[in-house]
């Protein structure tokens, strides 16, 4: 399950930190692992194209590596693209089989970004945080 690529992203996370002027920010956690993430997204002037992404947090290698890879993948995509992504997209990015109980770790960043976008567009009510418990 732990290819070199995953370990590399875990040890040297890309897009790590906070954006100066994000369009929206959302947080989330996976209570089972204690994984916690904050995702910042900056949109271009069209209010649709993702221009900048960063994440911050801690947790298991799967959650952190997935966040690192996912944040790189998002840049240049639209909110519509983000909305259309599902768990398989993240698992494809990781490039390994993820055991069923660890899927929650893998999709944490994706779910946070999707919830954050929905709240930003007024499609979802404000929520304190996203959880991947269910």
């Amino acid at each position: 399950m732990y290819r070199q690529q995953i370990l590399d992203h875990y040890k040297n996370p890309r897009n790590y930190g906070e954006l100066d002027d994000p369009s929206f920010t959302h947080v989330g956690e996976n209570p089972m692992c204690g994984d916690a993430l904050r995702v910042d997204i900056k949109l271009a002037d069209d209010d649709e194209t993702i221009e900048g992404v960063s994440f911050k947090g801690d947790g298991c290698a799967i959650s952190q590596a997935a966040a690192s890879m996912f944040s790189g993948e998002l840049r240049g995509k639209t909110l519509e693209d983000l909305d259309a992504m599902d768990r398989d997209d993240v698992i494809d990015l990781l490039g390994v089989d993820i055991s069923p109980v660890r899927v929650k770790c893998a999709v944490l960043a994706e779910k946070i970004a999707q919830d954050g976008a929905s709240i930003y567009r007024g499609e979802k009510e404000e929520m304190e945080k996203t959880t991947t418990e269910e």
């Binding site: 399950m1 732990y2 370990l7 875990y10 040890k11 209570p31 089972m32 692992c33 204690g34 947790g59 298991c60 290698a61 799967i62 055991s99 069923p100 660890r102 770790c105």
Partner: protein, 436 residues
């Protein structure tokens, strides 16, 4: 001439005769399994390639052939509903099912079947008392005293019952090495205490709590004691009379028995006084359109068709471990835990939780490897077919107290070997290398 030392040495060897683990392992077909193949279809697959090292016995133990046979024989030869039937099969099933209660009573030193209720598991046993006794007896100002090392089975249950009744929940603190702070216990247990609900042995720390001492404290204030014995009954002699607990619960699947069955012990006069938890068939004596009266103990607490095959198989499992010897099992498990802790203590980057090695503690060893999340550790060890548990082990508040979201836990049983501990340590080392 025998010297006194020689005599003692002979006696102590007899008392703690080592288990013939290689022979015992032959009783457990699953221990021959290799893993690593397809997980979608349960059971062995042709792609399995690595021999299983099963170190998750605190979660569930494996099942010996004769217990599997007991289940199989029941379904092949006398599957039938109990209590009601006049026909032959029902009589066979009823006699075996009732005898299973007697067997479990005898095993933990209860007075008889009337003090033994079969439930689904320890959690249901806890809920049975919390709902039937707690909802009725607790009110504002009353206190239920738990511990900081409580399993969610008791912690969440009493929390919710307290919310419904207005009672308060208090927690006996633990010290830095995971023992109960008995001074704090003496402070907390008092006039307002109605129930002291404590885990007999911590499923994370391995701490063995002084139930008899807590029972004395509680009884001085006419409070009851419920001890959760899920981690104790499988691996050491337990006598409810000596412990002084009013209620005691444990699960079949952690003691070589099947899933789907737990045991609730309660003192007969308390069981007599408490209303049933679940209503329905089997638990009644007389019913009319207005009301009903309850069946005799323990059937009053076993509504509907009970876990018949499971109960009979649990009695078989009890025979199995009892014949091996509970003291010998305890010694074997403690020795393995001691050996594992000795090996793990060699590394500065491993933190072990709970009382130190050498103290009386059970065969669970919970730990963290610095820089590697417990779930990552368990996943990497799974690549080597080493089965351990990682997470909060149903003790989130305890983990908060320990300052970590999750820990890894190896837990041993009668069929585990030192070689398996060595494999564990090697697998931890591969995780260390991978993350270095």
């Amino acid at each position: 001439m025998f010297t006194l030392e020689a005599l003692f040495s002979v006696m102590s060897t007899q008392r703690t005769e080592a288990l013939d683990v290689e022979r015992l392992r032959e009783d457990f077909p699953i221990l021959d399994r290799e893993v690593g193949g397809d997980i979608e279809t349960p059971g062995a697959s042709p792609e399995d390639d690595t021999p299983l090292v099963y170190l998750d016995n605190g979660a569930t133990s494996q099942t010996p052939e004769r217990v599997i046979d007991a289940i199989s024989t029941y379904y092949r030869e006398y599957n039938s509903n109990v209590h009601r039937g006049v026909h032959h099969l029902s009589q066979e099933a009823s006699i075996a099912y009732e005898a299973a209660h007697e067997r479990l009573a005898d095993f933990i030193g209860a007075n008889g079947a009337e003090e033994i209720v079969f439930t689904k598991n320890t959690t249901e046993a806890m809920n049975l008392i919390a709902y039937s006794w707690g909802l009725e007896e607790l009110g504002p100002g009353d206190e239920v005293v738990l511990t900081e090392m409580e399993h969610h089975a008791s912690l969440v249950t009493w929390q919710q019952i307290a919310k419904k009744t207005g009672a308060d929940v208090r927690y006996i603190a633990i010290d830095d090495e995971g023992r109960l702070d008995m001074d704090h216990a003496r402070e907390l247990i008092g006039e307002d205490t109605e129930m002291v609900s404590v885990v007999h042995i911590s499923n994370v720390l391995g701490t063995i709590n002084p139930i008899a001492e807590l029972a004395d404290l509680a009884h001085a204030y006419d409070s009851y004691v419920f001890a959760d014995g899920a981690q104790a009954v499988p691996n050491r002699p337990v006598d409810v009379g000596e412990l002084g607990a009013d209620f005691y619960a444990f699960s079949g699947h952690k003691m070589c028995g099947p899933t789907g069955i737990g045991v609730l012990y309660g003192r007969e006069e308390l069981f007599e006084a408490i209303d049933p938890f679940l209503f329905g068939g089997e638990m009644i004596r007389k019913v009319d359109f207005e009301d009903a009266t309850w069946n005799e103990l323990p059937w009053k607490f076993e509504a509907g068709t009970p876990p018949i095959a499971e109960g009979i198989a649990l009695a078989e499992a009890t025979d199995y471990i009892d014949e091996i010897g509970m003291e010998a099992i305890q010694r074997h498990e403690t020795d393995l835990a001691d050996y594992a802790m000795t090996e793990l203590e060699e590394f500065d980057d491993i933190e072990i939780y709970g009382p130190p090695r050498g103290e009386d503690r059970s065969g669970v060893v919970s730990f963290n490897l610095e820089g590697v999340h417990a779930h990552d550790l368990a996943s990497i060890m799974n690549d080597d077919a080493v089965a351990i548990r990682a997470g909060d082990h149903c003790t989130q508040p305890l983990h908060e107290k320990l300052g970590t979201a999750a820990s890894a836990r190896a837990s041993f049983y009668l069929y585990n070997t030192k070689e398996e501990v060595d494999t564990l340590v090697e697998a931890i080392d591969s995780a260390r290398q991978l993350f270095a």
